[in-house]
């Protein structure tokens, strides 16, 4: 029935999203043939074949991964999987690049519904409840117990684990993770008579600085909205006290006085203080504006750090987001999930792969290559990371901010909840509704969308 549903809609919409799972089977068979025929050819699979496997049969894994930041990450991922196969000759991993996070979610879930899931995939950490509602993934506690249980888990940053766990079980392992940080242009700070080594630390300072820095066709601050309005609102919510949802993902607390105050502060930066562009700012134009010197400060993911480092023609700084009651930022990014409707043997192989991809040294290198935060504390003790941080201290800011970070908005019916909140934030930013009205509406709609999960 489920398969039928998706097929019907996809066909009726005239969309080819399902092409992914169709071709998936083909590539699997191809790999099969290669392994049977080719011994010791130059490819990654061939090298793996050269070392004889214990019982002659190989476990094959299909691995879906998205790319959400700039840079040649496909090559990095493929090199990592090739290394894995060298170390594990009885496992063949087939990495499949599946587009953005949203594209990857669509392909994976269409695969799940047509009983053709990938074996292992990187998806946004916030997909947890949707995947559970679809009965798509397995808990990883047994595997984790084999590695030493809590000792193994305690090396991961707790803020990153928040989106991985619910009701006492761990369902995913952090991989490409981020927080939001403040980027600022030191040259523009100097020009405006501000100390370039002293970024704003509180909401009040932020407002004061942004106003000073704005003018002459330049903005003091930009906060991206399209696609991530809920994420940015979370910064203000966390800085003003509390997160937006319960850990079980069944309730949201949008309409609190603290959140209204946070949204009001955000709206006022543009409408009242003219320090920020009005209306809705696009996610991808904000970094360009910053690099062009059109804005002195920006809120953006630390995932953009390598991009800014490479392309800024001016001296820039990175700092914590300014605090109100406390510092705060939601985490973001993708985790490894292992799927349900596949062989036990494949699940075990998938776990080996997940473990390998998040090993200390590899996590450190991955962080250096991408700008993502390394997910393990021990990664920051490695020589390579120490050397990198000595040369580029900004790389540590997002890690240090983790102490004040909290889970990204993740609930049952997450797609709709995120949309409801984002729409309301946009309505406030475009002055269609007041912040109080907007959050009240968001609360009402979200309660309705979550009603069937609270029975």
């Amino acid at each position: 029935m489920r398969k039928g549903n998706v097929m019907v809609m996809a066909a009726a919409l005239g969309m080819s999203v399902l092409a992914g799972c169709g071709s998936n089977t083909n590539t699997n068979t191809n790999t099969n043939n290669n392994n049977a025929a080719g011994n010791g050819s130059g490819t990654g699979a061939g090298e793996a074949a050269a070392a004889p496997a214990a019982n002659g049969t190989k476990t094959e894994l299909t691995y879906y991964y998205p790319i959400a930041v700039g840079g040649p990450l496909t090559a990095t991922i493929e090199a990592m999987t090739a290394d894995f196969m060298k170390e594990n000759p009885d496992i063949v991993v087939k990495p499949v690049y599946t587009g953005s996070y949203a594209d990857t979610a669509v392909k994976t879930q269409a695969g799940v519904q047509s009983k053709q899931p990938p074996d292992v995939a990187v998806l946004q950490s916030t997909e947890l409840f949707s995947l559970l509602d679809m009965d798509a993934i397995i808990p990883l506690d047994e595997f984790i117990a084999q590695e030493g249980g809590d000792t193994y888990l305690s090396d991961f940053y707790p803020a990153f684990m928040e989106n991985s766990q619910t009701e006492g079980k761990t369902y995913s392992i952090p991989f490409q993770r981020s927080t939001i940080v403040l980027y600022y242009n030191k040259d523009m700070f100097k020009a405006a008579g501000l100390d370039p080594e002293k970024p704003p630390a509180t909401w009040a300072e932020m407002q004061e600085y942004a106003v000073k820095l704005a003018g002459n066709g330049k903005w003091g601050l930009e906060i991206p909205v399209t696609g991530y309005a809920y994420w940015m609102l979370q910064t203000f919510a966390l800085q003003n006290g509390n997160n937006l949802m319960t850990p079980d993902g069944k309730k949201v607390m949008f309409n609190t006085p603290e959140n209204v105050e946070g949204l009001q502060y955000w709206v006022d930066l543009a409408a009242k203080h003219k320090a920020m562009p009005g209306g809705v700012t696009d996610w991808s134009t904000v970094p360009s504006d910053f690099l062009e010197g059109k804005t002195a400060m920006m809120y953006h993911t630390t995932g953009n750090l390598t991009n800014v480092k490479k392309n800024a023609s001016f001296d820039f700084g990175v700092s914590f987001l300014p605090a109100q009651k406390q510092y705060g930022s939601p985490t973001g990014g993708g985790n490894f999930y292992i799927f349900k409707d596949i062989d036990k043997k494949k699940q075990e192989a998938a776990w080996k792969f997940v473990k390998f991809m998040t090993e200390t040294e590899r996590a450190a290198q991955w962080s250096i290559d991408t700008g993502y935060v390394a997910v393990k504390k021990s990664a920051y003790e490695t020589e390579r990371m120490k050397a990198y941080a000595a040369e580029f201290p900004a790389a540590l800011i997002a890690r240090d901010q983790l102490e004040y970070a909290s889970a990204e908005l993740s609930t049952h019916n997450n797609g709709r909840i995120v949309k409801i909140l984002s729409d309301s934030v946009q309505a406030a930013l475009t002055n269609e509704l007041t912040p109080a009205e907007a959050l009240q509406k968001a609360q009402k709609d979200a309660d309705q969308a979550l009603a069937s999960f609270n029975k």
């Binding site: 809609m9 066909a11 919409l13 399209t226 809705v280 696009d282 949309k419 729409d423 475009t430």
Partner: protein, 292 residues
């Protein structure tokens, strides 16, 4: 009887391949969609539950749905008449032009050839505040901080402008073909009688192009309900659904909310709208048009 069966049988045989595809990829999915639209099939229901018309009731109470439908009507009103008028103008121009006729035609037709995603990215840049093309242009008049895609009142106009640019060249091709089908003798006769150019256009060219106009308007109107790729790249339907259109809303409902029952119900509405447009053509306008 036997002869007619044989003759018709042959015709059916010729139609069979197309018929098969139509059944398999159009009628069968439509039937299943209509069926699924009567079920609650979302993340909270592991097995779909029959709920009759509940999805439709919810839909008509849904603010976003109403907004999406209003947007779509506005979008159609904005793109169809202007797009057609511009296409006709360009066709007459490209047909008459003595020099550089080929260049003119390809220049007008060019936007149609660029892939939709590329077009969306180009226009995303054009509409960028501060240093986008539009802002540069307007800065001569002292206006340069308009956030075209980030302001609820402007974003639809920005979309309409882009689609007219994209589609007018395509429709021009049909008008060019139509113009070439009009008998030269009519124009010669009018010339002999000394009729003015505007009257010639009004009395000869325009009426004889009516079949083309009808065809083009149907295509344009259905296109207005089928737009999705630009929204995906440029606005995601925002801000606050100001640029959300029906097909994008269906996509969101199906693949972001995973509410398959509601997505099917919305699809049914879309099919109804498209059928209605076709029916108006078939039973209404078509009879009043003069074919030569």
């Amino acid at each position: 009887m036997n002869a007619s069966l044989r003759r018709n049988g042959f015709a059916w045989l010729l139609l069979l391949p197309s018929l098969l595809f139509l059944l398999l990829f159009t009628f069968y999915p439509i039937a299943l969609t209509l069926r699924l639209s009567l079920f609650q099939a979302d993340l909270s229901t592991p097995e779909p539950v029959f709920t009759g018309l509940a999805n439709y009731r919810t839909m008509f109470q849904d603010e976003v749905f109403r907004k999406v439908m209003t947007n779509n009507v506005l979008f159609a009103l904005g793109t169809v008449p202007l797009g057609i008028a511009l296409a006709l103008l360009m066709a007459v121009f490209a047909n008459k032009a003595l020099r550089g006729r080929g260049f003119m035609r390809s220049a007008f037709f060019y936007p149609t050839l660029i892939p939709m995603i590329a077009v969306a990215n180009i226009w995303l840049f054009i509409y960028t505040p501060e240093y986008g093309f539009m802002s540069r242009l307007l800065s001569w008049f002292g206006v340069n901080d308009i956030n075209w895609l980030g302001t609820p009142g402007l974003v639809m106009w920005a979309m309409i402008l882009m689609i007219i640019w994209k589609e007018a060249g395509f429709f021009m091709i049909f008008y060019l073909a139509g113009l070439q089908n009009i008998s030269k003798e009519l124009y010669e006769a009018a010339h002999v009688d000394g009729v003015g150019r505007f009257t010639v256009f009004r009395k000869i060219t325009f009426p004889l192009l009516m079949p083309t106009t009808l065809f083009v308007s149907i295509v344009a109107l259905t296109n207005a309900y089928k737009l999705v790729d630009h929204l995906m790249i440029m606005t995601r339907g925002g801000p606050n659904n100001s640029s959300n259109l029906l097909l994008y809303y269906i996509y969101e409902t199906a693949f972001s909310y995973w509410d398959q029952g509601m997505a099917s119900a919305l699809t049914a509405v879309m099919i109804a709208v498209l059928l209605l447009i076709a029916a108006v053509q078939f039973f209404g306008l078509d009879r009043r048009i003069h074919y030569n």
